[in-house]
Symmetry: D2
């Protein structure tokens, strides 16, 4: 297995030169496009790693997975589902192109920015500071990594350049989908996107989803199985932006990417995977990361199809 | 002439019951739907009025006419034209439905909110407070009414509920079309929309546009003729929201409406008209106002076609 | 006047090299991009010409003007207006991008292909062959040119490559806006687009519109003034495709262009103009033609604004 | 197992009254909304049925599954993938709303009409008659039901009312995506949609997909495993129209619905399912059918997530 992972890393590292590090958040553009890390944990809890798997990067959209989970845990499926739909939009993740001005929950999903921003309001907490702290705690808890923290430089960069997200938040307010202060919601969202993790952390979080909320080492049920299925299904249809259909073909399992270069892969009943490679394809998915997951899927027959 | 105007007011007043007073700005919903005022000033400066022509109301989108004019006077046609296009959008005035995320100047015009907000940045002034004061002064100057002021209650109401405009302003920032602080730009824009005027004031402003910047009573040239033509042409194709095509048929001259119920009509070379009736049709144009202008156009052959 | 026209032709001929002859209809791509003709007829019936004003070209979208007129004459304003709206779409002339599948009359106008195809059904005639013959006769009658005929090669080329128009016609059927056989309607439409005219013919047609249906030489009223106003207003807001707003600024009078390179200009109460120059700008308007009309408008103060 | 299926049928039959039988194809509107059939075949080939599982109905969009398969078998993944993409569109299955007129393969998928029509061109055959016969033979072969035939009345009804599909076919031609005669392609497509099947036939086809092309009873490999994965993945993300995301949550396995009321469910490695209930929800999926599959999924833990 270790040889396989190292082989995959070796084969896929050259993709770094073909992709493009995210530059709309200036701080992200400093990433090294040649980085590639891979970490896999199986049902027995055995971890296999290769490449730059210990490097930390900001989770960016990967955190949408946990925003959705925490909203489900705090507010239940009914409220989550009525606020934010579950259909792929056929559009880029940060689109504001809603026809006939009809922005409704049915037209967004938890994996596009609009949906994730809206779901922040369903996380419990007196203040958005508290909501964020609870999200960070959940991330640490599921990843088993207590050192996870916000990358302050990336956070400031997100905040400084996050005008499209501000536009989306005010659209949500304009259509009565959220009522809280836009700046406070965004503060929580920008901080969430800026949480640093590494491949091992993503793999451990993914492993819990893969086992429907159960920790395979302790046997402890960390959250309801139904929430895991909700998240996994959503990742399958919407997790890889408007490249989710292609990833269903190439990878064949639920996954969530972020423009920081991370991808969290959930193989139901079998394993959790974390990948990191900051150079992205045109849709915002890690180019080397997707290719690595495709090779891994072929080698280990990970496709659920 | 006075008999004609009174007859028109009498005929059109019942439309108040068929339209709907704007309610997305709570303060506007207090307007009396039965109000109808009409004022007309001809090339000799003779003024004819009927109905509630002395009533004050907030200009709302009518002020877009003067935002465009002042941007032209301060920054010139080149800069105005490159920031904001001149084509009808085929969409509601407050749309954020820009396909493929491609918000460019070519896809907006000075008479939709996005365009008017953008043009505020081309008005001269150290601060947005100063920009606004210069706009208010221009409005007073052209209307000959020094008492024009902001309706503070409406302004606060606009500001409190202006989330769609906030979304539009942040979209402009996200696409690099404006760089100033969104809140400051909007402060100027919300105040501008809240300037109170009456039919006489609108008619006097319109009269100057009708005579290409020249004051017919003093002979003074108040702004360059080319700016008047720019504004008049833009009103013709975009002034009545996505009902501009229909008004070209029914009225046949440049006009600008506002959700406060006012319409400013410019009959090139002939007259300036102000109408006020707060109940609106589905597109946001004063229902009784449009009907009054149609009757007036037929009676006096005002169509330029 | 003749010197002015010749000067304008000399100044504008170089634009031929900057535009692009239409090539989506193969036969049109054979046009000579250096051609430029100009013809103007005033209220006294005096004709002034310059350049290639005698050259024949296919009317293409210019014929939409007469399709609308004949539909109005045959079926009245009520039926025309309820089938096809009058608002600019903000989209290219051959778009099929109708949001939420809601193709309704309100979202199209007589100057986009969808609208013009729909209006063919309102022309009287037992068969579409007869409808077309009546349209051709009207074109000959208004232009005073009995030699006007279909360019058979262009017609066959249009028919062979007119798949987008076929798509639009079937959309109209799918939404219940037309019920006749799509092929027959299109036969009429393709033939209409392929009628050859020259600048003199366009100028004479325009002159009748400019005088509200009256023939200035004979004094005869050829059609109701209200139909002329309907057409003129529609040309102002929609006649130059999604460049109508810009032409309102630069030319300032109703005009209709075609991808054959012709433009018909209507200056209400004053003159009719025909221009021809086959190299087009990006929106499908004759590049040299628009520039020639702009110069003419400045020199003779033709803007209605 | 049989008790379970009967219980599900009993529980779900009332949904027939809440949905709506398809009426845009007149012949389909004659279906009995109270019908509900269910058939399930497991990996050992054991078949379990309940309700109206022997009733025949037209496959409609369910046949898109086999159009895709046959295009893959005949032309390979490369050509299929380059002609038609794999991303959910976020739009209804028969939309022609393509922004900026940019209809490209990347914006469609094999499960929307435009994509399925395009894929007909990749099926081998000298004529479209032959292409269709090969498709019908494949359908009979995989279903093991040699009696499958076209429902001629439905076919004629589809053809008579298929104007939206004609519009889509001409769009494909206009954008150079297909070059064959539109009427011939549609003849094949309309016939394909009109093939009658019953729940047992759908379940047997699904079973082959569930076992990656292998016939579990004979062990014979009927088509390449990679094509099964391609189809299954596409069904997961796009098979239930713009309700695919919701079905991923509720059912959790690849499935394809048709407006005839049929749904084919593929549970990879485990079973094939056929359901039939003609009353549809707003997105065009069988209402009782989806509910039945949800109950079945819960009872047998069929979700792949």
């Amino acid at each position: 297995m270790d040889a396989l992972l190292q082989d995959i890393v070796r084969q896929c590292r050259p993709y770094g030169a073909l992709g493009k590090v995210a530059n709309y958040i200036p701080e992200l553009s400093k990433a090294d496009p040649d980085k590639l890390g891979l970490c896999l944990i199986d049902s027995e809890g055995s971890m296999h790693c290769a490449g730059d798997w210990q490097d930390y990067f900001t989770m960016q959209s990967v955190i949408k997975t946990l925003i959705l989970l925490l909203a489900l845990m705090d507010s239940g499926i009914g409220r989550v589902r009525s606020l934010v739909g579950v259909e792929a939009t056929g559009k880029p993740f940060d689109t504001f192109n809603y026809s006939d001005q009809a922005l409704t929950g049915a037209n967004i999903n938890p994996m596009v920015n609009t949906g994730a921003i809206a779901l922040c309001t369903l996380i419990h907490g007196e203040t958005y500071g508290e909501k964020f702290r609870r999200l960070l705690e959940l991330t640490r808890y599921l990843s088993g990594d207590d050192t996870l923290e916000v990358d302050e430089a990336v956070y400031r960069s997100e905040k400084a350049t996050g005008n499209k997200n501000r536009a989306l938040a005010y659209m949500l307010k304009a259509y009565g989908m959220v009522s809280d202060d836009a700046d406070e919601i965004l503060e929580c969202y920008f901080r969430a996107c800026s949480i640093k993790a590494n491949c091992a952390a993503l793999a451990r979080i993914a492993l819990v989803f893969a086992h429907h909320g159960r920790d395979v080492t302790t046997g402890e049920q960390r959250f309801a199985p139904i929430y895991a299925r909700y998240v996994n299904a959503t990742l399958m249809t919407c997790g890889m932006y408007d490249g989710s259909g292609e990833f269903a073909l190439r990878g064949g399992f639920p996954a969530k990417s972020g423009v920081g270069g991370g991808i969290m892969g959930v193989v139901p009943g079998r394993m959790g995977i974390g990948v990191f490679a900051p150079a992205l394809d045109k849709k915002g998915n890690s180019l080397a990361g997707v290719n690595a997951l495709e090779l891994l899927s072929e080698a280990l027959e990970l496709s659920v199809f």
